[in-house]
Amino acid sequence: MAELNLVQKRKQKSIFTMLALFAIFTLVFYITSSKTEPITFGFILGDEFKLISEWSVSSRVGSGIFMLLALFGIGLSYLGFKSEKSTTLGSVIFGLGSIMSFLCWAAAGKFIPFTGLLQAALLLAVPLIFGSMSGLLCEKSGVINIAIEGQLLFSAFISAIVASLTQNLMWGLLSAPIAGALVSLILAYFAINFKVDQVIIGFVINVLVLGLTNFFYSTLLVPYDSTWNAAGSFSNIPIPILSKIPIIGPVLFNQTIIVYIMYAIVTLIQVALFKSRWGLRTRAIGELPIAADSVGIDVNKLRFRNVMLAGLVSGLGGAVFTIGAVGIFSQSMTAGAGFIALACLVFGKWSPRGALVAALFFGFANSLQSNLSISGVALPSELMLMIPYIATIIAVSGLVGRVRAPAADGIPYSRGNK
């Protein structure tokens, strides 16, 4: 057998890992499962075209069907490995098959509103997507952004206040990116101009924003809540025809304006980062700033600009919490979403597409967990909620495919210093 290079070796390892998992899952969910109660998936949410309204299948049979899908995913990965192409699609299919098989096993005898599950997953993922895009813009250009949490929280706070005071949601939506950029300004100023350690300054920003929002929440938003904290929220805008497509329609095309903006921004970042002059320069200053400098790129200026852009993006993510959902601000309402966004970025190997998939996965895991506990499935929900965090640790430690940050990520640049 020919010598395998490092990448091929890792792919081989991950295929073996998948096979081992497949064996365990099949054993638990199919072979030893004695659950024969049917599981019912509901697919209709609103007035979309009806292709199928319900699908009922015996728990054990359903698990088996989806394990076959997982096996198909492994096969696809193997083909990719043999022809030295990507194995990612195969792994994603394997993951989906395994999760669905688990769902059939766990929710035997229950009704699962499948379309609603997906819709909730997307909603939970939206702030994570904005947050990880913010992290991406910073880190691709070499500035570590731990302050995503602070950006999200501050823009959620400001957008709620502005929308309440003006009684106009659009003003709230406009103010959110500005608030995010203000937080970014602190990060950029201290990290780039003062060359303060980026992780530390990011951490301090989070504490500062948490303290400030908590303080003004108690002094302004609670006593004067009818004028300061009554923003209301955007209603969904169904896109004609597209929103009628079964399953996909209500999930993707019957959402608030912020979600549509998210589609545009992710597409824009993906294209611009890899196809435009700005993207090339951004990646250059994140990998080898000294080389970028030698061809006349102003490293620190571009970094500053990108960090500010990142603030604008995560500002929109913050707006999702208030005017995009519940309509009012409450204390520390982002609840660590900024850190999960950071995890998505790492999990998605610092690429826009990867971060998007990771955020959707995290959103789905969360939505699945809450859905199962609502429908009364006895599961240790705390242990299920751990899965994304454990997955992230596995991803950074290189047990399943090594991830690598941009080479100059976190290192301040000044001429003369390497």
Binding site: F194, D197, L208, L212, F215, F216, V396
Partner: protein, 391 residues
């Protein structure tokens, strides 16, 4: 030895002191701005300034009264009772000190341990179980409980170091994730049969047996407990470890320049693992002392925000043991005083969070203060740098 312990203080004190003053100044402005009555007097500057000054003065006086010495309490129930707030301050400062030392030690090896929270939780879990599940004489039980805290916290932290040494996984990302895992784990654990109280269904573990509790030092409702001596001893130990031991020298060498340390024959993977193990052990010990000194029963909120405040404490103390001790006392005082602040003046206690963050912001950026106060190079700042994701 003791004198050398204090020499470091003078050189490093200017920066924290200025940060402190500046943060309180800005905190005062925020208090005034958020008060609609005072802001309404802006048209008459004289009146505005006097009421603003008295507002700020009253607020900080309330913090002092609530954290150091309460004159009113002394007048009612005797001179000695006036020290009640100070006892509370020290009780609050003890767990902050342990966790702060954990973060400070890691800083000196160039590691940013955000995971003190998770390690603290695991230490408390270990202490709780050993504390309530066994009946032993106090002289054996208490040390056993503390060791359980050190071991569990140390393993939880050491895992991070090992992972970094073996695979290069960055400690910041791993510890952030482990913090979430720890707080979910304790939620789950408290629902399991082993940790449920017999007569209760809510998530609270049984109290540790009285043989495992740290004795109170002053009696009455003063909560000051024996943990203060453990805390001071551990502070001294960390100082000794860092400045007087071979291991500590290796830690600092790796922290200053890991490439040079490697060339000199120091095993960087070993130092990374050892640092994170000891760091986690310190945080875990903090969890154990907090549990058997004040809380007695394990709850999901046992760690509060101690593990995160510890990072600010360590930054405030410039990652030195003595500095961390002073930082923990200051934060303990601020947090204890913030309760009185709310009840006496109506200013929300969250202002203390803002002041804490500002202090650390200024400490982390010596350049900023140098510009504001036009100082020459009289400010020294310790190397508190985490490395980039690939570092």
């Amino acid at each position: 030895m003791i004198t050398k312990f204090f020499i470091g203080l003078k050189k490093n004190a200017l920066l924290p002191f200025l940060s402190f003053i500046f943060a309180f100044f800005i905190g005062g402005i925020i208090i005034v701005v958020s008060d609609p009555v005072i802001m309404g007097q802006l048209s008459s500057p004289g009146k505005f300034l006097t009421s603003a000054a008295s507002r700020i003065g009253n607020s900080y006086l309330a913090i002092f009264q609530g954290s150091i010495y309460d004159v009113n309490l002394a007048r009612e129930s005797g001179f000695f009772r006036g020290f009640y707030p100070m006892s509370e301050t020290i009780v609050t400062a003890i767990p902050l000190l342990f966790a702060g030392l954990a973060v400070a030690l890691a800083f000196r090896s160039g590691l940013f341990n955000i995971g003190a929270q998770g390690q603290f939780i695991f230490g408390a879990i270990g202490a709780s179980y050993v504390g309530f599940a066994y009946e032993l004489p106090p002289l054996i039980h208490v040390p056993l409980v503390l060791i359980a805290g050190i071991v569990l916290g140390g393993l939880f932290g050491g895992f991070v170091g090992l992972l970094k040494a073996k695979t290069g996984a960055h400690e910041v990302i791993v510890t952030i994730m482990l913090n979430y895992i720890a707080s979910l784990f304790i939620l789950w654990l408290l629902k399991t049969q082993a940790f449920l109280r017999e007569e209760r269904q809510d998530p609270i573990a049984p109290e540790v047996n009285s043989s495992a509790q740290l004795p109170k030092l002053l009696g009455g409702d003063l909560r000051l407990h024996l943990g203060i001596f453990i805390a001071l001893g551990v502070t001294w130990f960390v100082w000794w470890l860092l400045t007087r031991s071979t291991l500590g020298f290796k830690f600092r060498a790796v922290g200053a320049n890991s490439n040079a340390a490697r060339t000199a024959g120091i095993s960087v993977p070993f130092v990374t693992t050892a640092t994170m193990f000891i760091s986690g052990g310190l945080a875990g010990l903090g969890g154990a002392v907090h549990l058997i000194g004040t809380e007695y029963a394990l709850t999901a909120g046992i760690a509060g925000s101690i593990g995160f405040d510890a990072i600010t404490v360590a930054l405030l103390g410039q990652a030195t043991p003595l500095g961390t001790l002073l930082g923990a006392l200051l934060f303990g005082a601020l947090q204890t005083g913030s309760r009185t602040l709310l009840s006496n003046t109506g200013t929300p206690s969250e202002i203390v969070q803002v002041i804490q963050a500002l202090i650390v912001l200024f400490i982390a950026t010596p350049m900023l203060l140098k510009r504001v106060f036009r100082l020459k190079n009289s400010i020294e700042s310790k190397s508190m740098t985490a490395k980039g994701w690939n570092g």
